[in-house]
Assembly symmetry: C2
Homo-oligomer: 328 residues x 2
Amino acid sequence: MAEQIRVAIAGHGNLGRGVEAAIAKNPDMRLVGIYTRRSPEHLKPRDAVTPVHAMSALPDHTDRIDVLILCGGSKDDLPRQGPELAALFNTVDSFDTHARIPEYFTAVDAPARANRRTALISAGWDPGMFSINRIVGEALLPDGATYTFWGDGLSQGHSDAVRRVPGVAGAVQYTRPVKEAVDRVRSASRPTLTTREKHRRECFVVLEEGADAEQVHNAIVTMPHYFDEYDTTVNFISAEDLARDHQAMVHGGFVIRSGNTSKENAQVIEYGLKLGSNPEFTASVLVAYARAVHRLNAMGQYGAMTVFDVAPGLLSPKSPAQLRAEQL
Amino acid sequence: MAEQIRVAIAGHGNLGRGVEAAIAKNPDMRLVGIYTRRSPEHLKPRDAVTPVHAMSALPDHTDRIDVLILCGGSKDDLPRQGPELAALFNTVDSFDTHARIPEYFTAVDAPARANRRTALISAGWDPGMFSINRIVGEALLPDGATYTFWGDGLSQGHSDAVRRVPGVAGAVQYTRPVKEAVDRVRSASRPTLTTREKHRRECFVVLEEGADAEQVHNAIVTMPHYFDEYDTTVNFISAEDLARDHQAMVHGGFVIRSGNTSKENAQVIEYGLKLGSNPEFTASVLVAYARAVHRLNAMGQYGAMTVFDVAPGLLSPKSPAQLRAEQL
Ligand SMILES: NC(=O)c1ccc[n+]([C@@H]2O[C@H](COP(=O)([O-])OP(=O)(O)OC[C@H]3O[C@@H](n4cnc5c(N)ncnc54)[C@H](OP(=O)(O)O)[C@@H]3O)[C@@H](O)[C@H]2O)c1
Ligand SMILES: NC(=O)c1ccc[n+]([C@@H]2O[C@H](COP(=O)([O-])OP(=O)(O)OC[C@H]3O[C@@H](n4cnc5c(N)ncnc54)[C@H](OP(=O)(O)O)[C@@H]3O)[C@@H](O)[C@H]2O)c1
């Protein structure tokens, strides 16, 4: 085997742990270190031999790392870490604040370009694989309509919102596509769908002692932005049930493009994900793009990029000739 | 709008007619001509104003055409036309003899490279979009298994085989995925499936006068390679029913990758197509790749390529900045 790609992780949350697991599945890569803002000695890597360093050690470690995978949060961490670290390393991140992508792209592009680094932003599944399927679907069927459905999936933001309701001791929220809407979309009828028609929301809530169930229920289903535009079910369960049945970070969904290639003929393209673990799958995407970033940098392609700029063959450990012979 | 891409068609069968329809859906392109080996005056383009030329006129038309889409058959036409025309034009084709792709790639690569042309081979849906999903699925979930199911779809080769059976006046054959197999694959259990377990075959047959139905049935279901490894149903119908209900060239199928990102967590990726017209969808893919080929050639990327080498953003008429802002 050729030399392994030396990968490191910046930030050790759900995604960072997922990246550890993903690198272990890719023999052409090696995890050379985990970097954290917390005290390194308190972090427990999946594999005890993996070195853990302070984030502040990164500037001294530029010659040890081929690609640094940024696993910080999109809200507060990446807007600072992304531009800073793209000056020092080839990077991959999963920045997912859709509305701020252009500004984040620009902020990362300049330092990366100036230092001949390659920085792949906003990889993962949405943004990421779903985005690719949105633009390719549209390119293949220009006379058509695109639909993205999410779920069945645990939504972190909505679960947090429910937990902030007075009287709630614990909660999770699942986003579920509405089956009738999905069937209509799959039939190529290009329906116009409201927010309420596309998804419903289901909450599993543990009440605090003495809390009023009716009041909690109403506070949830009428919550502006989060729930008022949806049909929401609230189930009250015990703390034991919550701990036993609702820990998995399941998610997924599908992107459907339907369109006509002529008056007579309709076509439907569907890309779907059923994820047992949202952060582990997202991490697997980041790791495959780390391989591509390593190659793109070697080819002299510097600056910020997105998944739209990466040819699929670059994600695979196999050579172009092998891919053509075996998998085309 | 910027200057339109000038596209031409070489070969006017099902696929060639599909390309005509697809170009009409893409305002950034213009169909400048159809080239055929038959007498041009007998061809009927979809739009009567489209010029039809003899194939032999192509060498004199190199300055009129940005991308030539090769719509000849994979068996006899493309192996000759591909290398010859790649010396004169940027080309896109749908060469689908999987086993001969490496040799075809080499045959096209040399003349294209020598003449600074870009030649995209084996685009379409399989090879094509399905191939992309096979290699990306494997790259994202290296510890996993990939399954390709075809159908429900009309198979040209199998329909032809049935038509050659003595006593058959007309016939079509549909390939259908076996639902139980698909469900097992979707459950992430990574089953090992035999040919018989994955697909079944269904024939609709019009008998010649006086033909023996029992004999025809047996000749079909025991036919080596084509039917003997499958469970096959044979339905006898009237010539009117065949003409009325079985003209659409429907096809499709799905590529499923299931895998584990850790011992605990399984993930499933599924890409599916439901095609009202196989040639029109294939043609739409070729036309989107014609856009990419035009851009790649302008970027100085010469020689043979496959869909594995093309970044998704190049398929879209939108600019990278617009794609990032609106669709990532
Ligand atoms: N594109 C997609 O499809 C997609 C999908 C899923 C997630 N994402 C993105 O991924 C980002 C990260 O997600 P995540 O689930 O990994 O977030 P997280 O668990 O909250 O981790 C974020 C950061 O917080 C710090 N942290 C983690 N655990 C901590 C603890 N116990 N105490 C204090 N700090 C802790 C870590 O940095 P330090 O080690 O430096 O302290 C870590 O990098 C999200 O913001 C989201 O934007 C994208
Ligand atoms: N990659 C994929 O997913 C995919 C999917 C579907 C098909 N394909 C490929 O596409 C290829 C073309 O398919 P197709 O359905 O367009 O084949 P087709 O209809 O048989 O046409 C093939 C060629 O035959 C000639 N022709 C057409 N009609 C004719 C007629 N009535 N009499 C004499 N010659 C005629 C045309 O060349 P002239 O005009 O020069 O005579 C045409 O270019 C197939 O071989 C297959 O390999 C690929």
